[in-house]
């Protein structure tokens, strides 16, 4: 883990692009957030397009009556904002009556609600008062004009921070919505290290939300939580800078940074991590056989691109051709950029047609991209990995390191299996 390649990417030039973005908007985050926060309801105030997006992105994954919905703006709502507010109050009252189990309601802003300047923060205040103490009403924007895909989770968590209870305790705050099983693994590892006052943002239920104060130290679990980090800084909490816990190396460096912050002895750290590290290395090695020497191209999607490129290059032997990210948060990404071997083209933002030209010119062995691009690229003979799976699948920490590598190896293995029959594609 001390094998820092001397030439990291911190000083590398970044290609900045403006053009058609082929990415989801921040509303998409609701699909995993509403499962994580079991007493929360996400009410998008938007258009039929918003409802259709959520439905299409969620697909068949969930069809229980979900804890999200869209209050679809109609022509009458556009005519007068007063009426829109009345309508919103009425819909919220009806919803809460129907779902008495809801303890926190998020009003989620969308492109149309932003453009007509519907003030959801005032609406949230008003509704909080009306429905206190049973329901807390917060608001954030998941609009495409302001947020890209995973930034929706950032906006959501940032909206929760000012509401968190204060504490003077020296607690550790883990920030990011991970699947419960992974969160439990992280807690177990930290507990074995001797760090026990651990809380997670977001809590699984409103009454499990963490406390924060000047002695709080926090570690991000996801790279896209810049605004949440800023909000926690304002509450006096201190960020533990670290690479992200992807792969054996990332997990170890992340844990090490946390352990150091809490004064854990190095010997003890090594004892606790030795076995899971060995397991993770073994699991990654199986997939690395497939991936080693292969060239990978990341289209911008979730802001996970840099940490994943670091994992795939350093632990799986891949070569990164281009690492695109929708937004490069330097302060948070610095430890990742230090580790990423030089030579990769870094790009921020997107002009999808130009980027596809580069993909075709580079002919990578694997292209990580959104669902709208995957089949078209496959039909051109390229091999792709859907980026969205990376945010819907448990991929963090030691026990998932092999699964994470496997997600990238599977399309490559499949292409090899089917190689006997060149695909004939009907457009």
């Amino acid at each position: 883990m001390n094998d820092h390649t001397p030439l990291g990417c911190n000083a590398a030039p970044v290609l900045k692009e403006r053009g058609q973005h082929e990415v989801f908007c921040g509303l998409t985050g609701i699909i995993w957030l509403h499962r994580k926060m079991q007493d929360a309801f996400f009410l998008v105030v938007g258009s039929r397009t918003c409802a259709h997006l959520l439905q299409s992105a969620a697909g068949v994954m969930i069809f229980a009556e979900p804890r999200f919905g869209t209050a679809i703006l109609e022509e009458g709502d556009l005519a007068g904002l007063k009426d829109a507010n009345d309508e919103l109050d009425r819909e919220v009252a009806r919803l809460l009556e129907r779902r008495p189990d809801i303890r926190q309601l998020f009003l989620v802003g969308s492109c149309p609600s932003e453009v007509i300047k519907l003030d959801l923060s005032r609406a949230a205040e008003r509704l909080s008062q009306a429905h206190a103490p049973n329901v807390r009403v917060l608001n954030f924007s998941g609009s495409g004009i302001e947020t890209t895909f995973t930034q929706g989770e950032d906006a959501c968590l940032a909206s929760m921070v000012p509401e968190l209870a204060s504490t003077d305790a020296a607690n550790l705050l883990l920030v990011g919505a991970l699947p419960d099983v992974v969160e439990d693994q992280a807690r177990a590892l930290l507990s074995d290290l001797g760090i026990d006052n651990v809380q997670v943002l977001p809590g699984r239920r409103a009454d499990q939300d963490p406390e924060v104060g000047p002695n709080t130290r926090y570690a991000l679990l996801q790279p896209f939580l810049g605004d949440t980090a800023g909000a926690l800084d304002k509450r006096g909490a201190q960020r533990i800078a670290a690479p992200f816990p992807f792969g054996e190396e990332g997990t170890t460096l992340w844990l090490k940074a946390v352990a150091d912050a809490f004064g854990i002895e190095a010997d003890h750290f090594d004892r606790v991590t030795a076995a899971p590290r060995a397991r993770a290395r073994k699991a990654v090695a199986a997939a690395a056989q497939t991936l080693s020497g292969k060239r990978i191209f990341f289209m911008p999607d979730s802001q996970l691109e840099l940490p994943l490129a670091r994992f795939l290059t350093r632990e799986c032997g891949m070569e990164a051709v281009e690492v695109g990210t929708p937004f490069l948060h330097r302060a948070i990404m610095e430890p990742e950029l230090d580790l990423l071997p030089g030579g990769a083209r870094l790009s921020e933002g997107q002009d999808v047609e130009k980027q596809l030209d580069r993909v075709r010119a580079d002919q990578p062995d694997l292209t990580v991209c959104g669902l709208g691009l995957a089949n078209p690229l496959e039909s051109e003979g390229l091999t792709t990995k859907w980026a969205i799976e990376l945010v819907f699948t448990p991929v963090h920490f030691y026990e998932q390191a092999g699964d994470l590598a496997g997600l990238f190896a599977r399309p490559v293995r499949r292409k090899a299996l089917l190689a006997a029959q060149p695909a004939e594609v009907t457009p």
Binding site: H21, F24, C25, T49, L53, T70, E74, E91, G144, E353
Partner: protein, 512 residues
């Protein structure tokens, strides 16, 4: 403002995309914020298209608002033209762009591109996806279809198939076969499968065959008015409708009615004794109006089912559907609220649902088998094999598809005879569906979120424990009907307590 959980239709610009994606040589420049590109995945993932939809999104952001979104649009338009060199462009706004009022039509016009530019006005806050398909195709015809001479031979256009349509690919093949058999040439299939330059020659056909009125009715009416082309009104789903279409085409074209029915197996399959058990199966039908109405006729007249519910989500076609529902003696359900549909299905307790992907999920929740007959669709509704709904093979496919979810004839008897045998337990479900046993209704399904006004007398009914136990001995696939019939019977008779006796009296009363 209306709270929506799942929607049957997307916004109208998605309808425009369905038209554009079905065509070649047409490009759509859509003024839209980041995120609206999600719609691409409908085509690349659900329909497994190997090409991106021909759509350029301007992807404006908050910082562009109020400054230069118009420039952004013009740049995107020019770049799209340069890169794709389409024969024609359509331009329009998604819901957010509609609010900023940049006038894509005017902006594109000002660019002076050397190809036709067609501006679409699709009001996002009052209309939906099917309006979008119909309006887009109509505007394309208006702008592109020129006066041309009729073909010397008898010919027609096939109108209506679009991208992401339920079995449109295969329906076109079947209907083309029908026309072939009558010596009628197909001049153009549109929108799907055509180019703008093909639309210019629409007027060469002698008449139009409209497969999907939802997508092509406006265009067909305009072509009738402006180009003197009559169009067909029959949608050839099922044996009888297929025969009716052949007759209608004969009448319009003057060609002899001729149906190649050597491969038509559906009528005999339906008449053969094994199908006796289909008699009176109660089906609930919901979908787009055209498919729902066609399914209702096939269900009653060709399968011998009893239609116990009929509805559609597209209000534009409510009138004919209401009339048909009346003829069938059921109340039409016109709604795009899936909770309302779920409630109506739970109330009707059908033995099978013929619906969309939404009803398939409802059926899963309620433990009722379902066959899909209409959009909205999912990836499994795009089978690799030829699987039409229309014409001769379409009728065969309907028979297979609708019978498959049901418990088979002899099995039904065995279930009744050996209903206490653990291997015939409810949980087992139809024996030919390994691992897909219907699940018992979830508790929340039993308590519909929107309580419908039930007659007070039925609410007050009490089942005595012995009757409740007897009811549980009835096989699961008819239990809902038995419960409902018994309660209706008891209410009619003014009985407030249902005993085993009441149950069997009701059974005798409803015997058929």
């Amino acid at each position: 403002m209306k709270l929506t959980v799942w929607t049957y239709e997307g916004p109208p610009h998605v309808g425009a995309m369905r038209v554009a994606t079905g065509m070649e040589g047409l490009h759509y420049v859509l003024h839209a914020p980041q995120g609206d590109t999600y719609a691409d995945l409908l085509f690349t993932m659900i329909e497994r298209r190997g090409k991106r939809p021909p759509v350029t999104y301007t992807t404006f952001q908050a910082r562009d608002l109020g400054s230069d979104t118009a420039t952004l649009f013009k740049d995107a338009c020019l770049a799209a033209y340069e890169r794709f060199k389409p024969e024609a462009l359509i331009v329009g706004a998604s819901c957010t762009a509609e609010l900023i009022q940049d006038d894509p039509g005017g902006l594109a016009e000002a660019l002076g591109l050397p190809v036709p530019v067609i501006a679409l006005e699709l009001p996002s806050y009052s209309r939906k996806e099917l309006f979008g398909t119909d309006e887009t195709f109509y505007q394309l015809c208006r702008a592109l279809a020129k006066p041309v001479d009729r073909t010397p031979e008898v010919s027609c256009n096939i109108l209506g198939p679009v991208g992401l349509g339920f079995r449109h690919r295969d329906d076109v093949v079947e209907v083309t076969k029908l026309l072939d058999a009558m010596d009628i040439t197909v001049n153009c299939v549109a929108p799907m499968g055509s180019r703008p330059s093909d639309l210019a020659r629409l007027g060469a056909a002698h008449f139009n065959v409209v497969l999907y009125p939802e997508h092509a009715e406006n265009a067909a009416r305009w072509l009738e008015r402006e180009h003197g082309q009559p169009f067909t009104k029959t949608v050839p789903i099922g044996t009888q409708a297929t025969r009716r279409l052949v007759d209608e085409v004969a009448q319009i074209s003057g060609q002899a009615a001729n149906l190649q029915d050597d491969d038509l197996r559906q009528p005999w399959w339906s008449a053969s004794v094994d199908s006796t058990y289909l008699t009176g199966k109660r089906v609930f039908i919901f979908g787009d109006a055209t498919h729902a109405m066609a399914a209702a006729r096939v269900a009653r007249d060709e399968m011998g089912f009893e239609v116990c519910g009929l509805g559609c989500y597209n209000r534009e076609f409510a009138r004919p559907l209401r009339a048909l529902a009346k003829e069938f003696g059921v109340e039409a359900l016109i709604t795009d609220d899936y909770l309302e549909v779920e409630h109506a299905i739970a109330e009707a307790a059908p033995e099978m649902i013929l619906g969309t992907q939404m009803e398939r999920h409802i059926g899963k929740r309620l433990g009722i088998p379902c066959a899909v007959i209409s959009s909205p669709v999912h990836v499994q509704d795009f089978p690799a094999r030829h699987s039409p709904q229309m014409g001769v093979e379409g009728a065969n496919v309907l028979f297979d598809t609708w019978v498959h979810p049901l418990v088979m004839g002899l099995e039904e008897h065995l279930l009744t005879m050996f209903r206490d045998d653990f291997e015939f337990s409810d949980a087992a479900g139809p024996s030919h569906h390994g691992g897909h046993a219907p699940v018992p209704p979830a508790p929340e399904a039993a308590a519909p979120t929107k309580a419908a006004p039930a007659p007070k007398s039925i609410e007050d009914l009490v089942w005595v424990p012995a009757a409740e136990k007897e009811l549980r001995k009835i096989p699961f696939f008819v239990r809902g009907k038995a419960r409902r019939n018994t309660e209706l019977f008891a209410a009619e008779q003014g009985v407030s307590e249902i005993s085993v006796e009441t149950l069997y009296e009701a059974k005798a009363h409803y015997a058929r």
